[in-house]
Amino acid sequence: MFPRPIEQASPAAQLAYKIALPAALILWLLPLLGVAMTSVRPASDLAQGNYFGWPSALAFDNYISVFRDSNIAQYMLNSFKVTIPTVIGCLILSTMTGFALAIYKFRSNLLIFFLFVAGNFVPFQILMVPVRDLTLNLGLYNTSAGLALFHIAFQTGFCTLFMRNFIKALPFELIEAARVEGVTEVRIFWYIVLPLMRPAIAALSVLVFTFIWNDFFWATVLTTSAETQPVTAGLSSLNGQWIAAWHLVSAGSIIAAMPPVLMFFAMQKHFIAGLTLGAVK
């Protein structure tokens, strides 16, 4: 079996493993732990300079204050209004583009595929000015729809790469068998390929959801008001509101970080290997 179970390693290696693993974990989680601690710290602690010490009390009402005293609920809603349409739009487009590029042989197939891939290599910062102008001219500047449309366009390239390779790995005989059986191409996509893509769809939806939810750059470029700004951009504006209210910003951050985590757990049961088991041979 590879990798070998740690129980079979030498005692020294086992000891090193047992020390290094928690150390690495703590190092990895330290910033997050810091934010979590700060989010339950009373404001007085921060005023007294107790930034990293033990909180003097647990102030869970920071979480209530942040909802009461800021627009975070609105920001969260804005984030959902951008993220959910983006995830759905990307998945719809990329399952279809992926299917076309994986299944059909046509002259410019590879060229188109490379274009999708190459799009991912464009540093998105250089798109800032043209995209801002484009959305402005389309009347979509400072709207959730404009932000979502841009994200769909930009994410579909990566999603197409992912989906195309996934479909390419499915046994092609399944498609041929269905064709011989008289099933139309659209129905092959819907009844044969789509059900087998469940793990890919689940993985991509978590990935895209997280990308878009955590996006800060385009959120600040394309939206400006509290009515449209997603939570990432909104949180940074909290900073200006309360210069030293780190406990509230932290609480807001923790809340803002929750949806991608929940999304992961919601999709987890679809991450299954061996869906095509029994199809061939």
Partner: protein, 348 residues
């Protein structure tokens, strides 16, 4: 049900021709086996009949309808793939009924057809299972069931048994044959296994390098192979072939004088052939040195050296030959084959 006519069919990938001018007529209800070594174009030919591969030139008609440009869906055929290609997310019943459901057939009709196919193939206990929960032989049957339910004009089989173990293969061989006797649907079956071809076919088409080497009834191919390729391919162990020269009504080869049938002109360079099972002990026959003795139980294969060539003889009797021993053999009367050395074509 329908006849299949293939006329001057060619297939090329760029400059590389893989099927050359193939003509095959398959009468309604016949079981035809395409057989040949790998790369001979037999699978390509089948896939062209199925419509999964484009035709470079020539025509294929199914039941008086030229299907060259019809998509597979409109050819009214069913195909069983080498690796079964079952829909892994569907149960056995759903796998078999899927095409009918897509054709918007009545639910009750689908159920009765699936039940009938399951009945024929002994799949009733497995209808609710998924392909991953079935054994290789059961999956094979589901793939056949999927073909049967549609009641197509032609069945196409692409090496369907090559993924099964030897015992199951023999069993499925007769099951497929029995199924054909029951349904009498025109069938084209591709295999590289000559035993499968011999045992299953009404007619065998032997292919070599994209051309038909010979077609005919299995025993005709066995009795009168048209060339050295078919002679060597059909029959197991394969025919003994010795090159020689025709002189005075006999064939001189390797310092031996071999009995020969009529037909070879004096001085012609020929290949003399005899099947291992047609050699018998004869004190005045050809001298041969025993190399290896392979008992199979029902018969014994004896690997020999005749002159500088390897040969095999098969005996039903249990002779106690020892390696190194010299024995004398003669072919049975009328069972010698002669081929031209240059072209490999049959002479007698």
């Amino acid at each position: 049900m329908a006849e299949v006519k293939i006329r001057a069919l060619q297939k090329a990938y760029g400059a590389v021709k893989v099927v050359h001018e193939v003509d095959v007529d398959i009468p309604d209800g016949e079981f035809v086996v395409l057989v040949g070594p790998s790369g001979c174009g037999k699978s390509t030919l089948l896939r062209m009949i199925a419509g999964l591969e484009a035709i470079t030139s020539g025509t294929i008609s199914i039941g008086n309808r030229v299907v060259n440009n019809l998509p597979p869906a409109e050819r009214d055929i069913a195909m069983v793939f080498q690796n079964y290609a079952l829909y892994p997310h569907k149960t056995v019943a759903a796998n078999m009924g899927f095409a009918l459901k897509m054709a918007r057939m009545d639910k009750a009709e689908i159920d009765s057809r699936v039940a009938r196919a399951a009945d024929i193939l002994g799949l009733q206990p497995y209808l609710a299972r998924y392909p991953r929960e079935l054994s290789g032989g059961q999956r094979q049957r589901v793939a056949m069931g999927r073909a049967i339910v549609r009641n197509p004009q032609v069945f196409l089989f692409d090496e369907p048994l090559s993924n099964l173990d030897a015992k199951l293969r023999v069993q499925m061989r007769s099951e497929i044959r029995e199924l054909h006797q029951r349904l009498a649907t025109t069938t084209v079956y591709v295999t590289h296994d000559q035993i499968e071809a011999m045992t299953m076919a009404d007619r065998i088409v032997v292919m070599r390098e994209g051309r038909i080497a010979q077609q005919g009834a299995p025993l005709d191919l066995y009795d009168r192979p048209a060339n050295t390729f078919v002679a060597g391919f059909i029959g197991s162990p394969s025919m003994n072939l010795l090159p020689g020269v025709s002189r005075g009504g006999r064939i001189e080869a390797e310092g031996l004088s071999l009995p020969a049938p009529d037909g070879a002109a004096e001085g012609r360079r020929v290949i003399w052939g005899v099947r291992p099972e047609h050699l018998e002990l004869d004190p005045s026959g050809i001298a041969a040195t025993v190399v290896v003795v392979e008992p199979t139980g029902s018969e014994t294969h004896v690997v020999l050296r005749i002159g500088g060539h390897d040969a095999v003889a098969v005996f039903r009797e249990r002779h106690a030959f020892r390696p190194g021993e010299v024995i004398h053999l003669s072919p049975r009367a009328g069972l010698v084959h002669l081929f031209d050395e240059a072209t490999g074509d049959r002479i007698n």
